[in-house]
């Protein structure tokens, strides 16, 4: 930042943003809960030792880290030793897919190997799987999804081949909120000796996760999606699962993820899991009611609007819509100027009028899919916030449609 900016005091500052601000993008990230911040405080200040060091400073950090492993393991019905701290959900997905598929291929003596994923997956999974094809010679099947963005277990069963080494399917879709039948999908994989990874990043704020009930070998989490800090994630690796290092270095995290561990982040992750475990049952009930008020209100007030994703089997705080003849990004900006922070559900990367691939995979027509909008509620969301959205959104949609008609 240039120094002149520091002297910007000429009274020109205008707050053109409306003063009311409503955050409804909790699927993108959540605020840190006060409990979590308090739990992290020692590791960020006085307890700064490197957890790998032998001295007393290191021991303090190692003890905090051990406890974090134990707490996270407990929260997932896993053992402490099966928990690996990473830099976030994306890294966890990378480690699971690369580390699992490469190790399984080698163990089974396969020349290529086959990986299964789905068209509705997050970029962290999709891009990784595609690179495994381009750079590592794997064959890849991207499963189709139904009109709600859900993978049918029979589709998975039919796609498994003798050389299939790994399948990666998300637990809850970030863009449309639908829940996948992970336990059933995992059971199929186990029966066919296929490693199964699930990206469960969207889930912990709303449901307890049990790696045994889910039949998973790998499971990825990201603390900032459930009121923890950014820059820290979890990868659960079932004991005995083939796994090889993706990046190399020291023997941290029982030799599965080299690099000095982010102890404060690990402690914060454990604290966040504890926090959501305490809050989520009541919050899920409360937010589901608010979400349904929102959905019903939008469908009633906005012509040519539809819900995307499953109507009931979806994340409690997740409402997603498609609007015919609306540019989703323009709508997002129009709402932001009114102080409402939401998302289109997928990042637009080129201004290309290309609809979201996930919505397209769900069979939603292009003119509708271009107008995707995701409104994700969180623990602080109030009925007032939803009323404000219901008052503002129909006006914004109408304006975006008028603008498109006036200047095309």
């Amino acid at each position: 930042m240039r120094s002149s900016l520091l002297f910007w005091r000429t009274g020109l500052y205008n707050s053109s943003m409306t003063s009311r601000r409503v955050y409804l993008d909790h699927s993108a990230t959540t605020p840190i809960a006060p409990d979590v911040l308090a739990a992290m405080q020692p590791a960020l200040t006085s307890e700064y030792g490197n957890a790998s060091a032998l001295h007393s400073f290191g021991r303090d950090a190692a003890a905090a880290l051990d406890e974090a492993h134990a707490l996270v393991g407990c929260a997932l019905s896993a053992r402490a030793g099966e928990i690996v701290f990473t830099a976030g959900g994306t890294e966890s997905d990378n480690l699971a897919i690369r580390g699992g598929a490469l190790a399984a291929r080698k163990r089974r003596g396969l020349e290529h190997g086959h990986i299964i994923s789905a068209l509705s997956e997050h970029h962290a999974v999709e891009a990784t799987v595609l690179q495994m094809r381009e750079m590592y010679g794997f064959e890849v099947t991207m499963l189709p999804v139904d009109s709600h963005g859900v993978v049918d277990p029979d589709t998975l069963r039919a796609a498994i081949r003798p050389d299939t080494v790994l399948a990666s399917l998300m637990l809850a879709n970030n863009e449309v909120g639908s829940l996948l039948p992970i336990a059933a999908l995992g059971a199929i994989c186990r029966e066919r000796n296929v490693l199964f990874h699930t990206d469960a990043v969207q889930a912990p704020a709303y449901q307890a996760l049990d790696v045994n009930a889910l039949n998973v070998d790998f499971l990825a989490l990201s603390a900032h999606k459930f009121y923890g800090p950014k820059g820290i994630g979890v990868l659960y690796i079932r004991e005995g699962t083939p796994y090889t290092l993706v990046s190399t270095g020291g023997g941290h995290e029982r030799g599965r993820r080299p690099g000095t561990v982010n102890v404060a982040g690990a402690v914060g992750t454990a604290a966040a899991l504890k926090y959501v475990a305490r809050e989520r049952a009541a919050q899920a009930t409360r937010l589901m009611a608010l979400r349904d008020t929102l959905i019903d209100g939008v469908l009633a007030a906005v012509p040519e609007s539809r819900v995307s994703g499953h109507p009931t089997l979806r994340l409690p705080g997740h409402a997603s819509f498609v609007f015919n003849g609306v540019d989703g990004e323009s709508l997002l900006m129009a709402l932001d100027v009114e102080g409402i922070a939401v998302s289109t559900g997928s990042a637009c990367t080129s201004g290309d009028p290309e609809p979201s691939p996930v919505l397209v995979a769900m069979g939603i027509a292009r003119e509708w899919a271009l107008g995707g909008l995701r409104i994700t509620l969180g623990y602080q969301t109030t009925a007032d916030d939803i009323a404000y959205v219901l008052e503002t959104l129909p006006r914004c949609v109408a304006r975006v449609r008028e603008a498109a008609a006036a200047f095309s």
Binding site: L5, N14, D327, E329, M333, A334, S350, G351, A403
Partner: protein
């Protein structure tokens, strides 16, 4: 309920003009929103395996614009427009070279990108106006006028005036356009930037086409259209071959330098490009006397009033961005075309460039020159 302030979207580039435009509007009490468009640049490799950025929206420029928006306390959006820019501006520009013309991409950019794609987003945001850093002015109709008409007027700075590239605007555009720098000369704008403490006050002017990362339009065209940029003969008006050209897109009417003529031809009178002949892939050259033409024909003439004059109009016209205005008579023709007859023959009337007509410093309209007319 407090009085709502009028919302204005400013097209920001991180450069000095659009930054000052934004600051002026904030100072004037508007509810200002900044938008930066990411535009297309030729695929290339920046050394890190990433494509090049369009020069006017490189990561540093985005950071500058964002920092300025933050200083001004205005919302800022950086939105992707690569595909729409590529289709409507770059491809059209390249195709015009294939038609052996010398096009100006800024016309389509102003029409389709700024006053199309961006204006649409501005209105969607609830803006009443869209502002840019252009050096031009809009004259609003007098209150109570029987037929209210917005006029596009030259910028106060004769050297920086950009009304030429804005001639494509019509009434619905002008009614919503603001050019806050238009009343200033460039030196004043730089001074304002300093007064506002804007970090871009000292930034150098950019001149070349924004999507050419290396500023090398010849290389760009050769890569974009290898089938058109083929060597061919240089011929006289009589058809005598006197040299070889590197590809028609690399030449423009009136050009003298860079003509590879056979040795025996070089001692004669200087020769200029008269015409690009696509059918024969030939570059037609001739003497200065042969270069002049008395009239230009415009296939699709646009009038800023959205209405053609009912009778031939004595006015002035510019045939290139930096050309001097010349006097003559504009005659609107049926089917939307027009002819401009100059009082004095003009050299360098170039198909593909714009002919823009003025009454004093007010833009009447303009269009792309289809051909010159010898008189």
């Amino acid at each position: 309920m407090t009085q709502q302030k009028t919302r204005v979207v400013v097209a920001m580039s991180g450069g000095v003009d659009s930054s000052v435009a934004a600051a002026l509007l904030v100072e004037q009490g508007y509810d200002v929103v900044g938008i930066m468009l990411r535009l297309w640049a030729e695929e290339g490799d920046d050394g890190l395996g990433q494509p090049n950025s369009n020069r006017c929206c490189a990561p540093e420029a985005v950071a500058d614009a964002r920092a300025i928006a933050k200083m001004l306390g205005i919302p800022f959006y950086d939105i992707h427009a690569e595909q729409v820019f590529k289709q409507r501006v770059v491809d059209t520009w390249v195709n015009a070279y294939a038609d052996a013309t010398t096009p100006n991409p800024c016309f389509n950019c102003n029409r389709s990108i700024r006053f199309g794609f961006l204006m649409q987003r501005a209105l969607a945001l609830g803006a009443s106006y869209m502002a840019t850093g252009h050096y031009a002015r809009v004259i609003a109709p007098v209150a109570g006028a029987a037929s209210p008409v917005f006029k596009l007027r030259k910028g106060a700075d004769a050297h920086k005036d950009q009304s030429y590239v804005l001639h494509v605007l019509g009434q619905k555009d002008l009614a919503r356009a603001m050019f806050p720098c238009g009343g200033y000369v460039k030196a004043d704008v730089r001074e304002l930037a300093r007064r506002f403490n804007l970090p871009t006050a000292e930034r150098a002017e950019s001149q070349d086409l924004c999507f050419l990362t290396q500023g090398d339009y010849r290389g760009f065209l050769a890569r974009q259209m290898p089938e058109v940029a083929k060597p061919g003969p240089i011929v006289t008006a009589a058809g005598v071959e006197i040299g070889q050209h590197d590809g028609l897109p690399f030449y423009t009417v009136g050009q003298r330098r860079g003509l590879k003529l056979h040795a025996q031809s070089t001692d004669a009178e200087p020769l200029y490009v008269l015409k690009l002949d696509a059918a024969r892939n030939a570059l037609v050259v001739g003497t200065l006397a042969a270069l002049g033409a008395s009239a230009a024909f415009v296939g699709a003439m646009h009038y800023c009033d959205d209405l053609a004059p009912s009778a031939p109009l004595r006015c002035t016209a510019k045939i290139r961005y930096k050309a001097k205005e010349a006097a003559g008579v504009l005659t609107p023709l049926p089917n939307g075309s027009a002819e401009f007859v100059f009082d004095e023959p003009q050299r360098d009337i170039t198909p593909g460039q714009g002919l823009v007509c003025y009454l004093g410093d007010v833009v009447v309209g303009g269009g792309v020159i289809s051909r010159k007319v010898k008189g």
